[in-house]
C-alpha cells in the first residue's frame, strides 16, 4: 500500500533501476504531474473521500509502479534515441569506415556542437559568474534568498536547454524536462533543497567548464578546417594569384604542378581525420554532459 506520491515515486525509481537515466527522469516527472493533477481533481469532485483513498484510486487508474515501469521499458526498447543508427553486423572495410564518417549525422552534429559551444559557453559562463556572485553578495539581505532561488531555478532551465542541444547534436539521450518543486514549499525550503542538491553543483561546474571547453573546441575545429581548406586551395591560389605556398622572409616557395594532387589529398585527409576527431570528442562530451546534467 502506497501512502504518498513521494513513496510512489521512490518505488517507481527502484523499479526502473537499470533503465536509461533520462527515461527514469521522464517517468518520475510524468507520474508526479499526473498523480498530483488526479489527486487535486478527485479531492475537488469528491470532497468526502480521504486523501489516502483518493490516492489509492488515482494510482489504481494510473497503474502500479511495476506496471508503469514496464510500460516505459517497453517503449524504450522499441524506440531508439535520435541519431542512433542500427549498427550493421557485417564488418565493412577500413576505407569504407574511414570515409563513412561523411555519412554519419553524429560526426556533423558534433562539429556543429563544437562550433556553437563557444557561444553557449560564453553565455553559460557569464550567467553563472553573475548569478553566483550576486547570490553570495545579496545573501545578507532577505531578498538575497529570493534571488538565490531564482538563480537556482534558472540553472535548471539552462541545464535542460543544454541537454536538448546535446541530445539533438550529439545524439545522447538526455532528460526531456527538469524536475520541479513540490507545491507548498517555502522559499527557504527551496533554497535548502537546492543547496543540498548535488546535481545543482554539478550543473554549475559544467557551465563553468563550458567556456574553456568551448574555446578549445572552437579553436580546434576552425584551425583544422582552415588548414585543410588552405592545403586544398593552395595550388589553385598560387596559380591564379602568384601567392606562394610558403614564404620565409623574402624567400618564396612555390609548389610544383605535380604536387597539386598531394595537396588535395593532404587537405582531404586532414578534414576526414577532423571529422573522426569531432565524432570522438562529441561522444566524450555527450557522456560527460549526461553525468553532470541528468539527475539520477
Amino acid at each position: 500500500m502506497i501512502h504518498s506520491i513521494e513513496e510512489y515515486l521512490d518505488v517507481l525509481k527502484a523499479e526502473l533501476q537499470g533503465s536509461d537515466s533520462a527515461t527514469i527522469q521522464d517517468a518520475l516527472a510524468d507520474a508526479e504531474e499526473h498523480l498530483r493533477a488526479a489527486l487535486a481533481s478527485l479531492r475537488e469532485n469528491q470532497p468526502e473521500t480521504s486523501e489516502e483513498e483518493a490516492l489509492a484510486q488515482a494510482i489504481e487508474q494510473y497503474g502500479s509502479p511495476e506496471e508503469t515501469a514496464s510500460a516505459y521499458k517497453e517503449v524504450e526498447r522499441r524506440t531508439s534515441p535520435a541519431l542512433v543508427r542500427e549498427t550493421s553486423a557485417q564488418q565493412s572495410s577500413m576505407l569504407k569506415r574511414f570515409l563513412g564518417v561523411y555519412d554519419d549525422p553524429k560526426a556533423w552534429g558534433a562539429l556543429l556542437y563544437m562550433l556553437i559551444s563557444l557561444v553557449t559557453g560564453i553565455v553559460y559562463f557569464t550567467w553563472v559568474v553573475t548569478g553566483l556572485s550576486l547570490s553570495v553578495s545579496l545573501a545578507i539581505f532577505i531578498f538575497g534568498l529570493l534571488f538565490a532561488v531564482f538563480f537556482a531555478v534558472s540553472l535548471r532551465g539552462l541545464a535542460l536547454l543544454e541537454g536538448r542541444i546535446v541530445e539533438g547534436l550529439l545524439g545522447v539521450r538526455m532528460p526531456r524536462r527538469s524536475l520541479f518543486f513540490q507545491k507548498g514549499t517555502t522559499w527557504f525550503e527551496r533554497l535548502k533543497t537546492n543547496l543540498t542538491d548535488r546535481h545543482i553543483w554539478l550543473t554549475l561546474i559544467y557551465f563553468f567548464l563550458q567556456l574553456p571547453l568551448g574555446v578549445i573546441y572552437f579553436t580546434l575545429i576552425v584551425t583544422l578546417f582552415s588548414l585543410s581548406i588552405g592545403l586544398m586551395a593552395a595550388p589553385l591560389v598560387q596559380s591564379i594569384t602568384d601567392f606562394p605556398v610558403m614564404s620565409f622572409g623574402v624567400a618564396r616557395y612555390y609548389a610544383p604542378l605535380w604536387s597539386t594532387p598531394l595537396f588535395l589529398l593532404a587537405g582531404f585527409l586532414i578534414w576526414t581525420l577532423t571529422m573522426h576527431l569531432g565524432k570522438f570528442i562529441g561522444q566524450l562530451h555527450g557522456t560527460y554532459a549526461k553525468t553532470f546534467l541528468v539527475t539520477e
Binding site: 521522464d26 510524468d30 507520474a31 493533477a37 510500460a71 535520435a82
Partner: protein, 119 residues
C-alpha cells in the same frame, strides 16, 4: 491448465501497443488546443466507460515516443496548482501520419471482422 487471465492481459497489452499511438494522435488531432497528460487520460476514460483498456501511466511513454518521432510537440507551462504541466500538440507531420494510420486501421478492422466472422 492455461492461465487465461494472464494470457488475456498479455493479449490486451500487445494490442494496445499500436492502438495507443493511433488513439493519442486522433485525440490531439480533434482537440481545440494543446492538452496535458491528465486531461487526455480523463477524455479517454470518458470514451472507454467502465472498461479501462490501459493504465493511464502507460500513455505517457507513448506520448514521449510520438514526440520523439516528430508527430507531436510539447511545451511545459506552469500550472495554477501543483507542478508545471507538459502540453502536447499534434504537428503537421502528425496529421499526415494520422491519415495514413487511419487507412491502415480501417483495412485492419475490416480484415479482422471478416476473419472472425469467417464470411
Amino acid at each position: 491448465m492455461v492461465d487465461s487471465s494472464a494470457l488475456t492481459k498479455k493479449f490486451q497489452k500487445e494490442m494496445n501497443a499500436g492502438i495507443a499511438s493511433l488513439v493519442l494522435l486522433s485525440v490531439l488531432d480533434k482537440s481545440h488546443g494543446p492538452m496535458y497528460g491528465y486531461q487526455i487520460a480523463r477524455l479517454l476514460e470518458d470514451y472507454s466507460g467502465d472498461a479501462a483498456f490501459m493504465k493511464q501511466g502507460a500513455l505517457y511513454p507513448v506520448l514521449h515516443s510520438l514526440e520523439g518521432s516528430g508527430l507531436l510537440e510539447s511545451k511545459v507551462e506552469p500550472s495554477v496548482s501543483g507542478p508545471p504541466r507538459r502540453y502536447y500538440e499534434i504537428t503537421p507531420a502528425g496529421r499526415e501520419t494520422l491519415v495514413v494510420w487511419l487507412g491502415v486501421w480501417k483495412q485492419m478492422k475490416s480484415f479482422v471482422d471478416r476473419a472472425v466472422k469467417g464470411a
